[in-house]
Amino acid sequence: MSDVTREPAGTGRELRLVGFLCNWCSYGGADTAGVGRFIQPTDLRIVRLPCSGRVNPLFIAKTLLYGADGVLVSGCHPRDCHYAEGNFYARRRLEVFRHLLPTLGIDPRRFEYTWVSASEGQRWQQVVSKFTEQIHSLGPAPRLPGAPELEWMQSGVNPA
């Protein structure tokens, strides 16, 4: 394994943020933010999905249990779904799911969902910045007892 992953040890600032974005609106919005050179914190890694309605709440639970410090889901604005109504299903599922997080021992503030259209580059910048800031104020997610030591944990990327 190369040493690239260990490179930013000195900075020690990044947390593990995962984003699930629909292809048509929010992924496009993140692209628009890039085209507009709207500088954002670098912590977030984006998984591209066809629709926010494709998000199974279990994805989020697993991502958090694997050790992510925060999960962000973003889709098209309500009424603007590429698939007509996918984001309505997403909204209902994710809202219920948010209330279940405490029973999993997870701080519900580590999970957010929102709507960003393909033209809202600036809004995407704000969403990422605010969410990253929110997770940083919570700090790294507490390690679950017995969880395996993972490579990135030793790399020093995570201050934990």
Binding site: V4, T42, P50, R54, G67, H82, A84, E85
Partner: protein, 653 residues
């Protein structure tokens, strides 16, 4: 599996803030990666060739390119790998430009992020499967909804190209808004002279079947294979027998029926033919106004009809047609101008709409082409036009510019001067919006040659004083309040989405915006496509537009239909949901959740199982997230593939 990784510099777009070589080095250590390199412009011809060569040389099974957004170049690279003999779905992209190099300043952190995105792409690719598009047969027939100028154009173009066309129009005649206009801008040529022949072409074309006075009842099926139920509304006249002679309309005693075609300017009879050039030229009974339907003894029309076509017992009739493609061209309606109480429209007879004015100007209209004050029949000498009535006004929920009012107002001012040479026209405007060939010159002519007095400012009130109408407003260039005494006030009413447009959108399973306008596939690159395969848009239903643009879009939609139906077999996108029959418990939750009706129940040896209609499935994955068993999986974005990406990020042991 043998995977090749290509990291793009994109000139300095990526390389300036990402250590591209380091990312390429790191990729060598990833699972199944047997080849990794960096390239200056991967999407360029040499860049693509390098990929093709690497595929052959290293016997690659799959390729990852880390460069720009997949929304930009995924189709490009899919073709590249296909040329080298791979299945096009054995390809993944990592977006290290829009999502990394352009938004992060710290090169070390960017390099780390880029590396992780590449690893996520590699892990997903490892689970990719070869996907092959299915061939589906297509019905070479198109349904056009709406017989305005856009729908007429689309119908004629499709029919001329050899396709069978079914044209459905809600009103008793085709022609739409254009048929109500007297003249058209910027050439001031006669509207019915240019539209009329096209309407006749529709009626006479051997490949066009016209259903007038009909609406879409329901739509099922999918691209190439739609099944549409058309409701032929009861006209109470057997159109097979009706010759359009008009004897019934002459004798009908109910002569105060609201005249829809003439926008209520004047009255018509309960049984009527909307206008002389109507296509089809058939009579229709307005049940609400007919004496017979009000329980009074009448039946005069039946008595005088020479062909015995009148049938008061007629019922709505449903006709089913099978088509391969659908063009929605449902146009627009006027915004409700009566919400402007301060203009007194609807209260004062001498305050009329622009469309009523068109009917007034029209030689075949109720005023015989003479401009007269509705209150007393006198010729007006002073006419005030108020622009932006129902446009650019957030307070009534119409913040958009309707786009055509500036132009038709200039036309009406010119027409007014032609009809009444000693008249004076005043136009209250916010801005003059006249982008278009010959448009700005036209509005200048109205002012300079025809002497229309343009006043920049809004009107605050219209009220009667004596037998005149006083128009009070602001002249914002002078910075003064102004008053104009007018004989006639014409409101340049804007447009809004056709009534019930959202209902039709839901039947067609296409999206619509907050105002009810149908959503195009892409605002720039797919202006007439929708996100539902096989459904196209033309004219003002997509957003308000003038006649030239509507006609262009009608032809554009027809071109799209022809391209689609030029083949007997269609290819479907294989990124669809797939059911694992062994795991499916037949709960049918997926059937309920699917927005496209793409999943149906099938009986498999006495057990209910879900079945995906691949041609209908749009690949949203709602069913996948709903299935309690994980039995239905979206190809190319399965649960395992998504989790593989997450694990690649978080669970590297």
């Amino acid at each position: 599996m043998r995977i090749g990784v290509f990291i793009c510099h994109c000139g300095s777009n990526i390389a300036a803030t990402v250590d591209v070589k380091k990312v390429a080095e790191a990729a060598w250590g990833m699972n199944d990666v047997v080849y990794s390199t960096d390239s200056m412009y991967t999407c360029s011809e040499p860049g693509q060739q390098a990929i093709e060569e690497a595929i052959r040389e290293h016997k690659l099974h799959g390729v990852v390119v880390a460069s720009c957004s997949p929304r930009m170049h995924e189709p490009t690279f899919r073709r590249t790998v296909e040329r080298a003999g791979l299945n096009r779905y054995m390809f993944e992209m990592a977006n290290i430009r829009e999502h990394v190099s352009w938004i992060g300043r710290d090169k070390a952190l960017n390099t780390l992020k880029a590396t992780e995105l590449v690893r996520m792409a590699v892990e997903k690719l490892r689970l990719n499967r070869v996907l092959t598009p299915k061939k589906i047969p297509a019905t070479r027939k198109v349904l056009v909804i709406g017989g305005g100028v856009a729908g007429i154009q689309a119908s004629l173009d499709c029919a001329d190209a050899g396709l069978e066309v079914v044209l459905v129009e809600r009103e008793p005649s085709i022609g739409g808004k254009m048929s109500k206009l007297d003249k058209t801008f910027p050439t001031v040529d006669c509207s019915s002279c240019i539209l009329g022949p096209r309407m006749v072409d529709v009626a006479q074309h051997e490949r066009i079947t016209l259903y007038a006075y009909s609406e879409i009842d329901s739509v099922s099926g999918y691209v190439g294979n739609f099944e549409v139920n058309i409701r032929k509304k009861a006209s109470y006249v057997d159109w097979e027998k009706c010759t359009g002679c008009g004897a019934c309309t002459e004798k009908c005693p109910s002569r105060k029926t609201f005249d829809r075609f003439n926008e209520g300017l004047g009255a018509t009879t309960a049984i009527n033919i909307p206008f002389p050039q109507a296509i089809p030229k058939k009579a229709t009974i307005t049940a609400g106004a007919c004496r017979q339907f009000q329980g009074k003894k009448c039946g005069v029309c039946a008595k005088f009809c020479p062909t015995g076509a009148i049938n008061h017992e007629q019922k709505d009739e449903i006709v089913t047609v099978k088509v391969g493609a659908i063009v929605a061209a449902t146009g627009y309606d006027l915004t409700d101008w009566t919400v402007y109480g301060e203009y007194g429209a609807g209260r004062y007879p001498d305050v009329i709409t622009s469309l009523q004015y068109e009917r007034m100007l029209s030689a075949s209209g109720p005023y015989g082409g003479h401009i007269k004050r509705p209150s007393n029949g006198e010729e007006p000498k002073s006419i005030v036009f108020i622009q932006c009535v129902g446009s650019r006004d957030p307070s009534i929920g119409r913040p958009y510019c309707s786009g055509f009012c500036c132009m038709y107002t200039a036309k009406q001012a010119i027409m007014t001067k032609d009809h009444i040479p000693d008249s004076r026209s005043y136009v209250f405007y916010m801005d003059i919006r006249s982008p278009g060939k010959g448009y700005d010159e036209f509005t200048r002519r109205a002012q300079e040659e025809y002497g229309a007095q343009y006043v920049r400012g809004r009107v605050s009130q219209v009220y009667p004083r004596g037998d005149k109408m006083v128009v009070r407003g602001a002249d914002t260039l002078l910075g003064l309040p102004v008053e104009v005494e007018a004989d006639l006030v014409v409101l340049a009413v804007g447009g809004e989405a056709s009534r019930d447009a959202p209902k039709l959108a839901e039947k067609l399973r296409i999206s619509y915006d907050g105002f009810g306008f149908f959503m195009e596939g892409h605002p720039k690159l797919k202006p007439v496509e929708t996100n539902t395969a096989g459904v196209f848009l033309a004219g003002s239903c997509q957003g308000l537009k003038d006649i030239p643009s509507s006609v262009s879009q009608g032809s554009a939609a027809a071109a799209k239909v022809m391209a689609l139906l030029s083949r007997d077999m269609l290819e479907s996108d294989p990124q669809t949901a797939l059911v694992d029959i062994k795991r499916c418990i037949g709960c049918s939750k997926c059937v309920k959740v699917c927005p496209f009706g793409a999943i149906r129940e099938q009986d498999l040896r006495g057990q209910i199982k879900a079945e995906v209609l691949e041609a209908v499935c749009q690949g949203c994955g709602l069913c996948n997230a709903t299935c309690p068993q994980g039995a239905i999986q979206l190809s190319h974005a399965t649960d395992n593939q998504i989790l593989a990406e997450v694990e690649a990020l978080l669970c590297q042991m």
